[in-house]
């Protein structure tokens, strides 16, 4: 009982449990009422979406940490020109709307698919993850640099320097690992949500707009590409039909299950990730 009470009070854990339960409930419902091929596609789409998002946050965490620490070292070194050049390039990436940048990346991926550079499904997934990471990692870089600057103003930084502890150790171990991990983790949770949103959107756009050029077989099935399928779109259109004929509502959960399930998975995941991130920030008072 106290364990349940504990979960109820820690909103991040509560919403994580709600997310898992929601997916499990949908899975059981779909297993009973959705046709088997569509259910299989839905499972694959969800799995691939989560897989890409997890690779993105892994890449983002590693690259951001390295880039932020490198920038910090460059800023205080005699290579100030290099620092200016690096921040200039990063600011240019920042000034390109994420979706436009990722669309450019996808254009390259389809080109590499067509000329055979990308052959295995894993390489395609990895290329997609790298593309998305490139346009989301700066958020984490900013956060890490903010944390370093914040702690550098504190006395303990100078005290450690006087004690002869290397700057590398102070930044990586004392500031980031010991004192900023919860901030980094919270940012990664929001990046996970942003990644799912961007990935689903771009896959939807590609499947709707560029489907004549790009073979759907080559790109991994994700929730976005599943939603772009004509039958899924028909299912979503049926929601609008319900506004005119309320008796149609119950049929949504039996006859239009494919599109409704995909849309629900996207929206429900985004909502839960937001709540988890908020709860986490509340729990650690970030």
């Amino acid at each position: 009982m106290s364990y349940l009470q504990n979960i109820y009070e820690q909103k991040d854990k509560l919403w994580f449990v709600i997310w898992l339960l929601g997916i499990a409930a949908l899975g059981i419902w779909d297993m009973l009422f959705l046709n088997q091929p569509a259910f299989r596609q839905l499972r694959i789409g969800f799995y691939q979406t989560i897989k890409i998002a997890l690779i993105v946050i892994l890449l983002t965490a590693v690259v951001s940490w390295i880039v932020a620490v490198l920038l910090e070292r460059l800023e205080n070194s005699r290579f100030s020109a290099l620092y200016l050049a690096a921040t200039f390039v990063l600011n240019i990436i920042r000034s390109i709307p994420q979706i436009v940048g990722i669309l450019g990346g996808y254009t390259l991926i389809t080109f590499w698919l067509q000329n055979g550079t990308l052959r295995t499904p894993l390489s395609v997934i990895f290329a997609i993850a790298v593309t998305i990471s490139l346009f989301v990692f700066l958020e984490l870089v900013d956060l890490i640099r903010e944390r370093i600057h914040y702690y550098k103003k504190r006395d303990f930084y100078n005290a450690m320097r006087v004690c002869g502890i290397s700057e590398n150790r102070i930044i990586n171990t004392e500031i980031l690992w010991k004192n900023s991990l919860s901030h980094i983790f919270n940012k990664l949770i929001s990046i996970f949500g942003i990644t799912i949103f961007l990935q689903c959107s771009i896959d939807f756009i590609i499947s709707v707009g560029l489907s004549t050029r790009v073979s759907a077989i080559n790109l991994p099935v994700t929730l976005g590409s599943l939603l772009a399928k004509i039958d899924s779109k028909q299912d979503i259109l049926a929601i609008g039909h319900t506004f005119g004929d309320i008796t149609y509502f119950s049929r949504l959960f039996f006859e239009h299950l494919q599109g409704i399930s995909v849309a629900f998975l996207i929206v429900f995941t985004l909502l839960c990730v937001y709540k988890i991130s908020n709860g986490f920030a509340e729990r650690y008072e970030l």
Partner: protein, 374 residues
């Protein structure tokens, strides 16, 4: 500010130069490719006795080429495909009357400029509405939190526990209040789902009820969907919370500044929260609010980027004809990369202009609040 402005201008110059160079390159490249392709297929298109719509004619042409030039079967198939592609492109362009697939020309540039202006208009309206919405929702949530209001679901659970021991006379009241709380919780849940829905999910849900191709619908989607409003309202709320914990707030309260949030005790009224120019003079919240808004200004650049991403998604995913981002997608499809680069440059300039304006605004506010000379 000068160094920031210099950096922005340098960035605009460098990126514009790179993009313009790419545009020229793509233009000459596509002209060369087009000319080479045209040279290759022109003699076949001139054969007026062949009806390319007729599969029999196409097969006959291929078999004739295979018979006369043996060993080049794949080349012949490719040639036939090029003829088909060329014809498909011409038909689509004629049907849409939008010159898609013809690269950059003066009328095409003029047409794109019109779309660009419409994009900027939609962007400006959505930016203004979200700026207002973020502050309003953030303030509303903060005031509710200060009033001690819990979520409707938590209130419902509490209410059910309280009503367990109620007698039959109070039962009806209990049920009524319970139903109201449940209805409110449900409405809030649906609202949350709407605010977190990607634009295409929302748009397809309402497609049969509204004209989804209008500027109005685009603006509504831009504000409500993609999680833009809710995420930044939450950010504003956290700024308010962190400001409210600062020492100056406690000092002001000790010095007897008005600090009740209940409207009946001279606190914050609902009308004040929804006002366009928010001001809470004489209340401690006034200072919390202006300090939180100052912090929020630094996130406007990030919000602008997210907002543009949202608008791009709306135009592309909903295939809104004669809109800038739909054109962008079409030109990627037709491999007209000169037009693609031009549109991307246009979008980049919108974002960069917003960044400059946001930096200037922040600088202006900093001078006011931090008493900075430069």
């Amino acid at each position: 500010m000068k160094s920031k402005l210099l950096e922005h201008i340098l960035s605009i110059v460098v990126v514009s130069s790179i993009f313009l160079f790419m545009m020229v390159q793509f233009q000459s490249q596509s002209r060369d490719v087009e000319m080479a392709a045209d040279r290759e297929i022109a003699p076949f298109l001139a054969l007026d006795f062949i009806d390319y719509d007729n599969p029999l004619h196409r097969s006959l042409l291929k078999e004739s080429m295979d018979a006369f030039y043996p060993g080049q079967e794949s080349r012949h198939a490719e040639l036939l495909q090029k003829i088909q592609d060329h014809r498909a492109r011409e038909i689509t362009a004629a049907r849409q009357q939008d010159n898609s697939g013809k690269g950059l020309s003066a009328p095409r540039l003029w047409e794109l400029f019109g779309m660009y202006l419409r994009f900027i208009l939609a962007y400006g309206i959505v930016m203004f509405l979200t700026y207002y919405g973020v502050q309003t929702l953030g303030t509303l949530r903060f005031v509710q939190m200060k009033k001690g209001q819990t979520s409707y679901l938590a209130a419902l659970v509490k209410h059910v526990n309280k009503c367990r021991g109620a007698d039959s006379a109070n039962w009806q009241d209990c049920a009524k209040t319970g139903a109201t709380l449940f209805g409110k919780a449900l409405a809030k849940g649906i609202l949350y789902m709407i605010l977190f829905s990607p634009a295409y999910v929302l748009a397809y849900s309402f497609k049969t009820r509204f004209d989804t191709d209008s500027l109005f619908f685009m603006v509504v989607l831009g504000v409500l969907s993609n999680g833009l409003l809710i995420n930044y309202a939450n950010k504003f709320y956290t700024f308010l919370v962190s400001e409210s914990r600062k020492g100056y707030v406690q000092t002001a309260i000790v010095k007897n500044l008005r600090n009740s949030y209940l409207a009946e005790e001279g606190g914050i009224k609902l009308g004040e929260i929804f006002r366009l120019r928010k001001s809470f003079e004489g209340h401690v919240f006034h200072h919390i609010f202006i300090n939180a808004r100052y912090q929020y200004l630094s996130t406007i650049k990030e919000q602008a980027s997210f907002l543009i991403s949202g608008l791009v998604i709306i135009e592309m995913a909903l295939n809104i004809h004669n809109h800038l981002c739909y054109e962008l997608l079409q030109n990627i499809l037709y491999q007209q990369y000169d037009v693609v680069v031009l549109i991307v440059l246009g979008i980049y300039l919108v974002l960069k202009t917003t960044e400059i304006l946001a930096d200037y605004w922040l600088y202006f506010e900093s001078r006011r609040y931090e008493n900075k000379a430069s």
